[in-house]
């Protein structure tokens, strides 16, 4: 594809730290190649700012190949910029036109407080996973891997859900700031597999409780999460969560010893 050069007007959210109030600051940028990624465009902006002795814009990023889940950004009001199944780091400037104005903001959710500029704190996700997003199987205790047969269809469904990168786009896109897609994806990954069955009801209860405690909102079926998900995770996982949650409300009993299985 042939290369074009773009001139852009950027409106970027600047906020010195969690306690200060932030604001949108406007920058002009010239000669951005259409082969550059969106984050490379921000690199170019930062180079320009540094040369002018202005502090560069802070933004989270790491692998820049769409798998680590570090990058974020609301771009023109859309999480990850709105290209289907694409993270911000994989978004390329060929989708933009010369003269475009672009609004760049951090994830907006009360469970994800801003750290600086475009960086937010997503440790609430870790707290939800540590409440039950695992199979209790201490190292060394596993049977031969082929002793447990997993139907291909189940493995594929588990993998579809396991593709979640924990970026938080689902929360940022949701009008309620709900983490249902994230939590349900983890549950669906484990519950499509036979290994996940023994702890199924406990896990559902524990993770939903942790999700509420972390300050995420409720799901009211807007499905903005599914539209924003860079890994194309289906809202079907939410239905699975709801079914299990209802079941666990009736059937789940606390184990007799707290911390059972911790070794």
């Amino acid at each position: 594809m042939s290369e074009r050069m773009l001139s852009l007007t950027l409106h970027v959210w600047r906020q010195p730290d969690a306690r200060s109030t932030g604001k949108l600051v406007t920058y002009k940028l010239k000669d951005v190649s259409t082969h550059a990624s969106f984050l490379e465009m921000l690199d170019i902006l930062n180079e320009q700012l540094i040369e002018q002795a202005e502090e560069p814009v802070a933004f989270d990023h790491d692998c820049r190949e769409g798998i680590c889940g570090t990058c974020s950004l609301m771009i023109n009001g859309r999480a990850h910029g709105g290209q289907k199944a694409t993270t911000t780091c994989q978004l390329h400037m060929r989708l933009f036109n010369d003269g475009d104005e672009i609004w760049i903001e951090p994830w907006r959710a009360s469970a994800f407080p801003v750290i600086k500029d475009l960086c937010v704190d997503r440790t609430a996700f870790d707290r939800v996973i540590s409440a039950g997003g695992y199979i209790s199987s201490n190292c060394g205790s596993a049977p031969d891997a082929n002793d447990l047969l997993v139907p291909k269809a189940s493995a594929d469904l588990a993998m579809d859900a396991a593709a979640c990168i924990g970026c938080g786009a689902c929360v940022a896109a949701c009008p309620n700031g709900s983490a249902m897609l994230f939590v349900a994806a983890k549950l669906a990954h484990l519950h499509h597999l036979p290994q996940g069955q023994p702890e199924r009801l406990y896990r559902t209860q524990a993770m939903v409780t942790a999700m509420d405690a972390a300050g995420f909102g409720n799901c009211s079926n807007h499905y903005e999460c599914e539209a924003a998900c860079p890994k194309d995770i289906s809202r079907d996982v939410i239905a699975m969560l709801n079914r299990d949650y209802a079941k666990s409300a009736f059937c789940y009993r606390e184990p007799s010893t707290k911390g059972e299985g911790s070794g």
Partner: protein
Amino acid sequence: MTLHLDARVPSGPIEQKWSKAKFELRLVNPANKRKYKVIVVGSGLAGGAAAATLAELGYDVACFCFQDTPRRAHSIAAQGGINAAKNYQNDGDSIHRLFYDTVKGGDFRAREANVHRLAEVSVDIIDQCAAMGVPFAREYGGTLANRSFGGAQVSRTFYARGQTGQQLLLGVYSALTRQIGFGKVKMFSRSEMLDVVIENGRAVGIVTRDLITGAIESHAAHAVILATGGYSNVFYLSTNAKGCNVTATYRAYKRGAGFANPCFTQIHPTCIPVSGDFQSKLTLMSESLRNDGRVWVPKTTTDVTKHPDKISDEDRDYYLERKYPSFGNLSPRDIASRAAKEQCDDGRGIGPGGRGVYLDFRDAIKRNGEAQVREKYGNLFDMYERITGENPYRLPMRIYPAVHYTMGGLWVDYNLQTTIPGLFCLGEANFSDHGANRLGASALMQGLADGYFIVSYAIGHYLAGLSSSPGAKDLASPTGSAFTTVETEVKGRLDRLMSIPGKHSVDSFHKELGQILWEGCGMARSKQSLQDALKKIPEVRERFWRDATVLGGRDSFNQSLEKAGRVADYFEFAELMCKDALVREESCGGHFRTEHQVDGEAKRDDDKFCHAAVWEYAGDTSDAIRHVEPLVFENVKLATRSYK
């Protein structure tokens, strides 16, 4: 001070060494384990697995990572798979064959005993990961599926679509967060280790910077484990994540840990070519693509600008199939990379600047249909299209080699302990298992082997030997002089970075360094190119310390400062790399010295260089002292590698 390089390999036949070690290594009583504190730096496959496993055993663990959550460690980016000698395919695999392939693939520059142990525990890794819910690919009958990878003639690679590293890391992360939830692991995210603390010759803790507040903190422990990955980013452009760095291992080196084979770097043959000078990283296309993709360039230089569809089969040079008929497109990485470079140097490269070759799926699509190709590689094809804007189902992919992995790292003995007692090193950060070239799908295997199945024995042995009464009395005081001295040095270094008086970005100097290294110490090296690099590096380094600028504050969130610290270490480390490459007057694996070749193939010099080179810090980088650990091959006969 001189390095003590005792590899502590158990005696006896190679098949029995690990069993013997497991019996001979001392144990810590279950009730005493909680009295010992262990620090793990890094939360990837090696570090995360080590932290989780040690906590399961009962140790008091603290784990550190610079990312915002442990789930983002760079292990996540591995695509293709993980090797294990399960022989589920009944195609002739065995522990001995995986051992043999790895030693040979590493061009006889790895330690036999470590590699054999790796092959032994590989089978347990798959069991453990499956039990933890890693959604490996399955056959219709429900058994695990396998695929082939470079450097092997058996099908032993387990995979989860093109996201195997992600799925294995999420397994590790779930085990780790489970222990965090139980209060057995204290997790420090967005926290970067800036130095290791030594007291009475033992590692007793680390000094870190809280990346949100900028606070410098001391953490004491009975043992410290570094699992901080590789240093490919010294080249600026590599397939590594932007945050990957050498700081932890380089700081340990400066405190007395030997650094082995820094010049052993791996160039991966199938990456998306560079598209402009704004380029911030290179993206790898999994080696598994070479199972079905055929690599070619036009036979004549006049065809390079033609549309690939207009070039008929007889005008295409499938050079890997031509040069290496038995391994063909699945030749090992170093060989496939150099072959691509040769074609491009010959003027037959395609795409921008003539730095690219085709990876073509036309025949696979014709044979198996687009649907099957999509099922196997769909996510990789989508990624390629997003980055390049070209559809690989219609047009062949354009690929070119890029820096990808570093085999060199901190020297460790059989128990994964560095030359500093109490300081252990796992995964890509150590040097031990891959010699001069790593085979595909072996990095995940090593990370998990070290973290899940090996380091727990080594740590127990070390801690049990500390004293007769376990616990607090061996724990150094984080307010003692050993820590305060290091803290003062760390703060001094940060202040120095903050006060560089120039006006140019840190990245601009990093790019310059990368260019020098790529030319001088990249895919092909010569005495001349290395001497040139060794002359240029100090010049650019000096300019960095004069003309760069780090804006923002020391005591707050500051990504420029993080970057500057890492790049400052790269500037010193780059010199060590070139020096190591200059002394190693032979070609082996990824280290290709143009003076040492036969018909374009690497020519080893086993008489002079059948050893690991271990560098000891002695003041300035230029004064580093080279030691050797001789490598003895008793089970795989030293031979010239042949993939023909």
